[in-house]
Amino acid sequence: MSDKPDLGVDPEDLAPEPMAQFRRWLEDAEGEGIHLANAVALATVDAQGVPSVRHVLLRGMSERGFEFFTNLESAKARDLAANPRAALALLWRELDRQVTVGGVVEPCSEEESDAYFAARPREAQIAAWASPQSRPIRDRAELMDRFRRSERAHPGDVPRPPYWGGYRLVPDRMEFWQARAFRLHDRIRYLRHEDGWRLDRLAP
């Protein structure tokens, strides 16, 4: 970190709405040429209260929240069915920046899931039919065999599988973290209130 400028973040510099601020930082990360700048660690909790976390790609965002798509029978979807609370963390190592988010997920509409599915490459669409996500399989040959069968079953357009769709994480808390010298990082937290967002600086 020592070879980089010590960039400060003050609440006055930030957008009043955290999604607008997030967009600025995501654009900075993309401008920096960071590969997969939209990769996000998604944390869920199972019915016993045990957390787990894996990466997904953010596929959309609006003022309302962050969208991602998955197999609705995957481990994360099973967690979200039992407990819709989720958290996200994005790390842009090249900028010494991190964003963390907490909130509740809601399903995307059927139309939103259809529209996103239709935009995926054909191979990814076929794979969505072929893979019983997170379930044990015998070997790679079984997976390739399923892929070829799904390919034959859908010679033309590939419809969205009924068990595949999107979630939108609606944040109630977002935090912007900028590393600074002496480990005295800047951390600015947005908390949702009835009539908007409150910004606080947190101790690093």
Partner: protein, 208 residues
Amino acid sequence: MRAPTGFHEDRPLDREDLLDDPIELFRRWLADAETAGVPLPNAMAVATADQDGRPSVRHVLLRGVDQHGFEFFTNYGSRKGRELGSNPHAGLVFLWKELDRQVHVTGPVVRSSEAGSDAYFATRPRDAQLGAWASRQSEVLSGREQLEERLTEVAARFPAEVPRPPHWGGFVVAAVTVEFWQGRRHRLHDRFRYAREGDGWRIERLSP
């Protein structure tokens, strides 16, 4: 996640590439990430949950890994420290984009020994040691000046060696599952999960 095509090679992960011990395989993958020049290859997202089952997640740096588990250090009064105090379970994930690889880990969490936390704290740069005293991690500040004033105070208080603050130390996540994920073309990723079974590990290939 989708493995980007045309940028990386399509690198398979087969059953015969695995080792009996996931910690050994993890070390090998971490070394591969270091060799590949991944920035901060030891950065990991740590997920915790409060007593009501509300998750939170942030990145920290892995400071050690052995048969006891994955170790990191923090302020015990931070949000993650408080959550681990009431719900001692964590999920971890490493992402090495340049290699299209992820590893995720789940398991129960215990505090590091006092001696282990002392030893690690002593290796930190003086600035970071002072920062650990100056920052009441995750508390609301009136402004950055408040933090800088505290730093000046603690620097005057500890002109020579800086002892470890009592509210600062390590956590160790004892893995009960470890999953190795290798991104492949057409979203046909290779995934293998190790699950603890008695003294050993059961290994399964998972559908991507």
